[in-house]
Amino acid sequence: MNHDLVIEDLTVSYHRIPAVHHLSVQLKSGSCIGLLGPNGAGKTTLLKALAGLLPVETGRIRFKGREIADGRLITYVPQREAVDWDFPITVRGLAEMGRYSVLGAWKPFGARDDAMVEEAIHVAELEAFADRQIKALSGGQQQRAFLARAWAQEAGIYLLDEPFSGLDKNASAAFAKAIHRLRDSQKLLIVSHHNLADAGELFDHILILNGELVAFGEAAQTLTRPNIDRAYSTKIFSGHKE
């Protein structure tokens, strides 16, 4: 099988304390992977390491055979609390920001860039809200607006940190639809999540983490009682709380 994202023996520290230990896993494009585990299991640390925000202590991360140093391949959507919602920017402005990484600091927008921005707004189903300020959107629409930016960036890997937290049932369903559409366009999505109850429906693959890899595989085979017990009831590493 041809794997796109290959993580080998990855160890990452957070505030100098190792939070992810010797993780090896191979992931394919066109999948939507739920990253589960108790608080402090290293979920955010892993996402930040993949995004290049934290230094790697051991191991390597390769995407399609190349080391991932190029930020354009990856798009990172931080937790909602990390965003300044009063920033004066519209949904379209946010999607245009996604093109900055393609265009650099000075290259002007061309026809293709405009088309990508419109496509991104369409993929996120935000056409009706394109000129609205991000502050004036509902929680679910805000999350989809960030997906629109990621789409405009033409990234291959989407790293989403707890995007479902705080969303109600309808907003969750709409957001799930949007990320499944991305998966069907052969993107690789890695989504940290804390609700075990709906993880089976949202994700096709599950990666359970507790400082080290507990289990990885197709959702139905991975979300088993023994795996969950192993992750949540035992303390494998005295990992630093995130």
Binding site: G52, L53, F87, P88, A105
Partner: protein
């Protein structure tokens, strides 16, 4: 009606008006980034902490634009960088660290002024005098304006990314720390250029009031910087003319005009103003009440 054209007859007024255009526009433009990054208090601290640097420079190389720059550099390094260092290496938070260092620097400055060989007037430092602006001051302002506007326009995309979401900007290879240091340096330069015009105490008004006004009026980052520039420029020119006609000090007049614009935007801004929010037609709640009647 000759009183309207009277100010333009004087050489010192024409120079002061030119200074207002340069300083007003540059400060207003830069102010957008200060407001978006919530750096207003840091900027205030920087303006005060230039005093010891200025006094040292006056003792060493005399009072000239070079000395002012040296004072500004001292402020930037001691307060902004030092504050960041203290905050990141102890449990003291950013704003406390900056406050602690700037008040220390200010006290040191007042003590040092006594010993400066060239006489530095504290009142002049605090309140400025735009009518006494010299050629060298105008050239300094001009150079600072060009440098500030060019760097902000050229780096607009990475700056916006860094201000909006630093972590995402970092994933795209943007050096967020360097861009923030650039903003701090530009703030210091802007303060150097407005020191002669309105003084250290009021320079914050030129920097923050125009951008804060536009922030209440519009919803776009580009409009904030260009609009801030235009408001800063017109406000400074209007303030100077009013100070001439009403015979009041120019610095306070400029800041009062800019402050009046800010309060007007706060009260009467079409979208975010208080008055328009009160007057806006209520909906849903009253409609649903009607249905129950």
């Amino acid at each position: 009606m000759s009183w309207i054209t009277e100010p333009f007859h004087y050489e010192f007024m024409r120079r002061a008006l030119l200074a207002c255009v340069l300083i007003g526009f540059t400060n207003g433009f830069l102010g957008a980034y200060v407001v978006l990054r919530r750096l207003a208090l840091v900027a205030d601290a920087l303006s005060h902490s230039m005093l010891p640097g200025l006094a040292l420079a006056a003792m060493l190389i005399g009072l000239n634009p070079g000395g002012l720059l040296l004072g500004g550099l001292f402020a930037a390094v001691f307060v902004a960088l030092g504050g960041h260092l203290v905050a990141s290496s102890s449990r003291v938070k950013d704003e406390t660290a900056v406050a602690a260092l700037y008040i220390l620097a200010f006290a040191l400055g007042i003590a040092l002024i006594k010993h400066a060989r060239v006489k530095v007037s504290l009142e002049h430092f605090l309140f400025g005098n735009i009518l006494g602006i010299a050629d060298s001051d105008l050239w300094t302002s001009y150079a600072i304006s060009v440098l500030t506007l060019l760097s902000l326009v050229a780096l607009q995309r990475p700056l916006l990314l860094a201000l909006f979401e630093a972590s995402v900007a970092r994933t795209q290879g943007i050096n967020v720390g360097l861009l923030l240091a650039l903003i701090i340096m530009l703030i210091v330069l802007a303060m150097v250029s407005s020191l002669q015009a309105v003084g250290a105490l009021l320079s914050l008004g030129l920097l923050v009031l125009p951008a804060a006004t536009v922030y209440l009026l519009c919803d776009s980052c580009a409009a904030m910087s260009w609009g801030g520039g235009v408001i800063g420029m017109t406000g400074a020119v209007a303030g100077l003319l009013i100070s001439f006609w009403a015979d009041i000090p120019s610095g306070p007049a400029i800041v009062m005009v800019l402050g009046a614009l800010f309060i007007a935007a706060y009260l009467f801004g079409p979208k975010y103003g208080m008055a328009s929010r009160w007057l806006r037609k209520r909906h849903l709640h009253e409609e649903s009440l009607q249905r129950w009647k």
